[in-house]
């Protein structure tokens, strides 16, 4: 029987979130990187704005180096990957050594990318390992709540990121639909009022980004007033 502590359910959820953050931000970065090669020096300005992270970078090169690889920059992709690892490494018996290994491999790939002249190739390996991690988790974890918690984290993070990046209306709607089917299988308490509100917001043509972010980030707050009672 799968019994989970609060700590582990939390860690599973955040493992889902950080793995998704690494995945989506690398993909987004890769898109921009191409345009930055010979194009405008300050393209990263826009990127930071879209990602809602402070622009602390002094040049294009500085941005590439630190945003991707500086572990001490809390907004860097590397820092987020380490957070994913920190959650994964304490979940060995929940997710299994085989699944955990892919996060470990992503870390190695990230370290290689750091010292590479063509970081995109190595960053692609990071993405490959994240995707393999998800696949292995889905395939090998018996407990539905364990699997669902990772997936829920992934969905929540994606909705948050898509809202920040002003991703299209239909993408957001798709992710919300997946969230709706997943959330009940986790055993987590959530606010059904907020979920209903999110569904409503996603229907609007000009999706109000800030409201979506606020609602998704407080979906699991402690003092929630759920429709389904206590």
């Amino acid at each position: 029987m799968a019994i989970l502590s609060v700590e582990h359910s939390d860690q599973l959820y955040w493992l889902g979130r950080y793995s998704e953050r690494v995945y989506t931000t690398i993909k987004e970065f890769a898109k921009r990187f191409d345009s930055m090669i010979e194009l405008r020096e300050h393209d990263y300005d826009e990127y930071c704005k879209a990602q809602d992270i402070p622009n602390i970078y002094s040049s294009k090169d500085d941005f590439i180096k630190r945003y991707c690889f500086d572990e001490s920059d809390p907004n860097s992709i590397h820092a987020n990957l380490i957070r994913a690892y920190d959650n994964a490494v304490v979940l060995r018996e929940e997710i299994g050594s085989e699944t955990l290994a892919y996060i470990q491999l992503a870390i190695y790939a990230m370290n290689k990318a750091k010292s590479s002249d063509a970081p995109l190739i190595q960053l692609q390996r990071v993405v490959d390992n994240i995707v393999a991690f998800w696949g292995m988790a889905d395939d090998s974890i018996d407990s539905e709540s364990v699997r669902s918690l990772i997936k829920l984290g992934k969905r929540v993070e994606r909705i948050d990121l898509y809202a920040r990046m002003n991703m299209g209306h239909s993408e957001l709607k798709r992710e919300l639909k997946r969230l709706n089917t997943r959330i009940g299988r986790t055993g987590l308490r959530y606010s059904s009022v907020k979920l209903a509100h999110l569904n409503y917001l996603a229907e609007m043509e000009n999706t109000p980004k800030d409201m979506i972010i606020e609602e998704i980030e407080s979906l699991f707050d402690e003092d929630i007033n759920t429709l389904d009672g206590k």
Binding site: V6, H8, V89, V90, S97, L188
Partner: protein, 446 residues
């Protein structure tokens, strides 16, 4: 296997170790670092006859040690009969007054024992130490075997080697045997513990839950695991990988934040099993080690099968004299230390250091033991494409359920340094798989 073959086998194996994060942690200058635990591909091989001998000797030793702990916290016959002087029992840091009169489930104290052995050049085995508190290391040969079988199936096809991945099953058996009803958990201090990899690996393979202290509570005289939905699940056995002093702030070190308040109270009532039993330190003290052969005769009325390294207790005047006269030939150990710290060889000291050490010895004779240096066997390791001999010891594991069970494998640690006898991982050593062969030693490829 030729050199190229060995090179590529070694690379594959170490790559897989990295993939699975096989590490141990160390603290250097106050910060936590994890390093890979290097595996050497040449295994230690133990033949059938030899393993039968070791098996008998190890079972005997652990039975006697278990009896000893029971006696010390109970009747104390061995002291009353003057077999062991009481100052050796009560002055050691491992003796816990709180354990007086407490008897664990099925009278088992030593659920998991790690007995450190070396084999002298003439083939004779010597026990160097009995680890009865939290012996670690079994997970490394388990995962190494798994990886090696994948990396070179041919080797395992051609050699009849006992399975060692059954350690998890044996451990589970030992857990179930003393479980008083409820779940079994492995209690870890957390991921910044040196052996965290092992804790999580054993949890995965035994199916026990890996927990930290704050995930367990004592309520109504029972131990519970609190589920994320708020449900409370009873726990019947705790394989705890935190030491006695941190186990329960209400009964031991009150500063402990990794323990569980009142767990010791309910253990005393028999409402949960703790593996290993608190208070075992009284028997794995390096000073008490000296008396293990006597214990075997005393409790079991048998001749000891395994030998201690010849050991002297400066506490006895006669021994003190011998130690001072033969200082250069001896190894000295601080009884309160572990992990290879506090182990010094007389030979390596300057005149000044010797004098200082001897005056310390005279001041605190109970604090040290001295042993003849055993010129133990080298085993080849594969380094930079060559086979070179290095000192290696063996930690054998004995688990207790209905009967003591000896694991047909073990952790072989070796020194990376050609001139050193110290094999501890915290001192930079590596490890080998330990093969127990189903036949007697026959020529094998590796």
């Amino acid at each position: 296997m030729n050199k190229e073959g060995m090179n590529s086998y070694s690379d594959t194996v170490n790559e897989l170790l990295a993939r699975y994060g096989v590490r141990f942690g160390i603290y250097k200058n106050g910060t936590f670092k994890e390093q890979l635990f290097p595996l050497d591909i040449i295994p230690r091989k133990i033949g059938q006859k030899e393993v039968e001998y070791l098996e008998k000797g190890l079972k005997q030793r652990v039975m006697a040690l278990n009896e000893f702990i029971k006696d010390i916290y109970g009747e104390k016959k061995i002291i009353r009969n003057n077999v062991i002087p009481e100052e050796f029992v009560y002055m050691g840091s491992g003796y816990l007054a709180q354990c007086e009169g407490v008897c664990p489930a099925k009278e088992i104290y030593t659920h998991i024992s790690g007995i450190d052995l070396v084999q002298a050049k003439d083939g004779q085995w010597f026990v160097l130490e009995d680890n009865l508190r939290i012996p670690s290391g079994a997970s490394y040969p388990m995962i190494a075997r798994d990886i090696c079988r994948k990396s070179s199936p041919a080797i395992f096809e051609k050699n009849a080697i006992y399975e060692n991945r059954n350690y998890a099953k044996m451990l589970r058996k030992a857990m179930d045997h003393v479980n008083v009803g409820g779940h079994t958990v492995i209690l870890t201090p957390g991921r910044y513990n040196a052996a965290y990899f092992e804790h999580s690996y054993l949890a995965e393979h035994t199916g026990a839950h890996l927990v930290t202290g704050n995930e367990l509570v004592v309520e109504n005289d029972h131990l519970y695991f609190v589920d994320y939905s708020g449900r409370k699940e009873k726990v019947g056995a705790v394989y705890r990988r935190i030491s006695d002093e941190y186990l329960d702030p209400m009964n031991f070190n009150s500063e402990s934040v990794i323990g569980i308040p009142h767990i010791y109270d309910i253990y005393r009532k028999g409402n949960v099993s703790l593996m290993n039993a608190p208070g075992n330190g009284v028997a794995d003290d390096k000073g008490i080690y000296y008396f293990v052969p006597e214990m075997i005769s005393y409790y079991l009325d048998e001749e000891p099968i395994l030998h201690n390294a010849p050991t002297y207790l400066p506490f006895y005047e006669k021994d003190m004299k011998y130690v001072i006269e033969n200082f250069d030939d001896l190894v000295l150990k601080d009884v309160a230390e572990a992990g290879g710290y506090g182990v010094v060889f007389g030979q390596g000291m300057t005149k000044d250091e010797k004098e200082r050490f001897i005056s310390m010895l005279k001041k605190e004779p109970r604090r040290f033991i001295a042993q003849e240096v055993i010129d133990f066997r080298d085993i080849d390791i594969f380094e930079d494409g060559e086979k070179v001999p290095r000192k290696a010891d063996l930690r054998a594991f004995v688990l207790m359920a209905e009967e003591p069970m000896v694991w047909k494998s073990g952790l072989t640690r070796f020194s990376r340094n050609p001139d050193s006898f110290i094999v501890n991982s915290s001192q930079g050593g590596g490890f080998k798989d330990t093969w127990v062969l189903e036949n007697d030693l026959s020529p094998t490829i590796l």
